[in-house]
């Protein structure tokens, strides 16, 4: 394949990765930003989203779009409720102590993963996309000094992949709007800035925490519902999103939403392009190297604010 179409295909693939990654990482970043909790179980909430999406779509039957629509609405709420319950029963009991929450969320990780293995099983299962048309993409070439369009072999995407990018962008806008323009967002930001002062002003910090933890997990679940028709639901699928989300959040700056989105696009696109031109392993190596460089030279992340 020539370099031009090659690059375009790589960017399209990278954009899908970036879209899903942005959603997942924003969830992680939100939880850290507001609660100062490093949620190691985040990838498992992602996995749970995919598995529940399979469950709901296979329960409903009929046209694949119907089951998928229900899954898209119901699954993030279910996972969010589960996460909020985990927050109230586990994280609250360890008083949100940073070290102990890490250990606690590792525990939640294993519980979720193994319960899924025991109930859903070790198989990867597909979810049918609501719509999926292959879109061949044209490229330009010079023939006899004149510009003309042609359709190179393999340069294509699917309508569903484009929809994933669109949907992720929509949800992210919604999160941004919610955080900056609504009362709930205001409460979250107040809690983020100073927990004790917020408490003194009568903000129900504990409820805000449960809400934020649920919201973070819900975003991961939403990302998983979007990606599951492209990939498949599998009980071990939470590992990669967790690692990549951490990479994105560290590069973007913990707790910074715009930073997280920019870093997700950076990592997603570079992963797509480097994987296509060189190898996927190199893409992971470079992303990890970037994390190391950021930690050394700009520990607060690209968009983070240095805290005293």
């Amino acid at each position: 394949m020539e370099i031009g179409p090659y690059l375009m295909l790589a960017s399209l693939e990278g954009a899908v990765t970036a879209a899903v990654l942005a959603l997942t990482a924003v969830g992680l970043s939100l939880v850290f930003g507001v609660m100062r909790v490093v949620n190691v179980a985040h990838g498992e909430f992602f996995m749970l989203g995919a598995v529940l999406a399979w469950w709901i779509t296979s329960l409903i039957g009929g046209h694949p779009a119907l089951g998928f629509a229900v899954a898209l609405l119901v699954v993030p709420v279910l996972v969010g409720l589960l996460a909020a319950a985990a927050d109230m029963t586990v994280l609250k009991r360890v008083a949100y102590d940073p070290e102990r929450t890490i250990v606690a969320t590792i525990g939640i990780l294993y519980i979720l993963q193994q319960v899924t293995l025991m109930t859903y099983g070790a198989d990867a299962r597909p979810v049918e996309p609501p719509f999926n048309t292959r879109l061949a993409l044209p490229w330009v070439e010079f023939v006899g000094g004149k510009l003309q369009l042609y359709w190179p072999w393999g340069l294509s995407t699917t309508s569903y992949k484009l929809a994933v990018i669109g949907a992720a962008a929509g949800v992210l806008l919604g999160v941004w709007w919610g955080m900056t323009r609504t009362k709930v967002g205001l409460l979250m930001r107040a809690t983020q800035m100073d927990r004790d002062m917020a408490l003194a002003f009568g903000i129900p910090v504990e409820r805000v925490y449960a809400l934020v933890f649920g919201l973070g997990a819900g975003l991961a679940a939403m990302a998983a519902v979007l990606i599951v028709p492209i990939q498949q639901a599998h009980y071990l699928m939470g590992g990669d999103p967790l690692l990549l989300s951490f990479i994105v959040v560290i590069i973007g700056g913990l707790g910074s939403l715009p930073g997280t989105v920019v870093a997700a696009i950076l990592i997603g696109l570079s992963d797509g392009i480097i994987s296509v031109f060189f190898s996927p392993t190199l893409a992971k190596i470079l992303a990890t190297l970037l994390v190391a460089l950021v930690l050394v030279f700009r520990p607060q992340g690209l968009f983070g604010v240095r805290r005293a």
Binding site: S156, Q232, L243, G272
Partner: protein, 430 residues
């Protein structure tokens, strides 16, 4: 990347204490208290190393069902040397390190007579050295060339399934004569895939063809489109073989990549084992070819033996579970468990096997086996065992996707799959 992070711990403190207590209790009993009739009524214990979890889980489930069916049938017919067969299954998580631990448990904890049933090549390679050290006969059902290549040891045998080298060697003439000379290979990036890469590349060159690109994909990968632009434009045939939980995604994305203008395709059914051929997105496979170790769909000339085997395991004529038409079997591989168990039975009977002291005799008895006729014991076809290389040879099937079903169009002979010996394990001490 972190797929192996979620393994349940195999030992707990309480479990360890229980085992210790049980062990102490058992040791304090006089030996005669356990089996009054000495060896005669004690079951033969076969340690079954099964991929219950991890990337080989779908295979593991069906290897388990096939093994259970074969053992039921053997026991119903009177067992081995008059003793019942007992299966002790242990999950290895499709993980080489745990594989070695499982082998160790078979030998030291479960007091198994033999180990059996491992499929994934990296797990075999990780486990076999330990089996050799423990002098535990280790019957693998793996397809990898590592047994016949001489990489392993005298205690490791593969008498129930053919190896990749012989499979691809038999496929190369068909590919070059019927599909094209310029081949791009896509394979999983571990031992099994490397066998494909090395031996098919050599075999197609012998046929006057060439491999124009080799694309290795990690078996834990979940998204594949990014690899496909490396397929050169001049490619006439795409040769694909993939394993792992995401095989359906792999084949679907291959179809989406090519759209209506695909080249010829030749796949190993591994790319679609345990996957429904009627899954949405697989329509493009119509007219493509697959290697099958054993035809998934009952063919018009189905043998009596296949009929019996299929019924015993609980597989319908479309290769799915009788109870659930969506639960597709790993039909091209799992016959290996059935046939291996019957080889073990034949070996133990020839050796007059009584207990672990006769393990060396068992190895020698299996090494002495040569012909295995097409029968209820060998439903996949007539086989020839090479005692020197510890590897069996047998027929291979090439099927074409016709109306969404795999129809056999060519069956290779055993001779097509033979190659010169690379090792003589019988010269190694027992």
């Amino acid at each position: 990347m972190t797929n192996d992070s979620g393994k349940p711990s195999t030992t707990t403190r309480r479990g360890a204490l229980k085992t210790l207590a049980a062990g102490a209790g058992a040791a304090s009993l006089p030996l005669w208290a356990r089996y009054a009739q000495a060896q005669t009524s004690e079951p033969i214990r076969i340690g079954f190393q099964v991929h219950r979890t991890g990337i080989g889980a779908a295979y593991g489930r069906w290897y388990d069902r096939t093994t259970t069916a074969a053992v039921d049938m053997i026991n119903a017919a009177g067992g081995i040397n008059g003793r019942m067969v007992e299966i002790l299954a242990e999950d290895d998580g499709t993980d080489p390190k745990r594989g070695a631990e499982v082998v160790e448990k078979f030998a030291n904890q479960h007091n198994c007579d033999i180990g059996f049933g491992t499929l994934f090549s990296h797990v075999v390679i990780g486990s076999a050295p330990r089996a050799g050290e423990l002098k535990l006969p280790y019957f693998v059902v793996s397809e990898g060339h590592h047994v016949a290549s001489g990489m392993l040891n005298r205690y490791t045998l593969q008498p129930g399934i053919t190896d990749v080298k012989s499979q691809v060697q038999a496929m190369a003439p068909f590919v070059s004569q019927n599909l094209g000379k310029k081949v791009t290979m896509i394979f999983p990036d571990f031992a099994f895939g490397h066998d494909h890469r090395d031996y098919f590349t050599a075999a197609i060159q012998e046929q006057g063809g060439e491999v124009v690109a080799q694309i290795a994909i990690p078996p834990t990968e979940t998204s594949f489109t990014k690899y496909f632009p490396k397929i050169p434009r001049e490619t006439e045939v795409v040769y694909h073989v993939m394993v792992g939980p995401a095989v359906l995604t792999f084949v679907k994305e291959l179809g989406e990549f090519f759209g209506p203008s695909r080249p010829e395709m030749f796949g190993f059914i591994d790319s679609l084992e345990a996957v429904d051929m009627a899954s949405p997105g697989l329509e493009f496979l119509e007219g493509t070819y697959f290697w099958e170790g054993n035809p998934r769909y009952a063919q018009t000339d189905q043998s009596e033996y296949d009929k019996l085997y299929r019924t015993a395991v609980g597989v319908d004529e479309n290769g799915a579970s009788v109870g659930d038409p969506k639960d597709i079997s790993t039909y091209a591989h799992m016959f290996g468990c059935w046939e291996t168990l019957y080889v073990i039975k034949a070996g133990m009977e020839a050796a007059g096997y009584q207990g672990p002291a006769d393990r060396a005799k068992l190895i020698e008895a299996v090494e002495a086996i040569t012909d295995m006729p097409h029968s209820n014991e060998h439903p996949q076809g007539t086989k020839l065992f090479n005692g020197k290389t510890h590897q069996v040879f047998g027929p291979q099937y090439i099927s074409r996707v016709t109306d969404g079903k795999l129809i056999v169009v060519h069956t290779t002979s055993i001779e097509d799959t033979m190659y010169p010996d690379e090792v003589d394990y019988t010269t190694q001490p027992l």
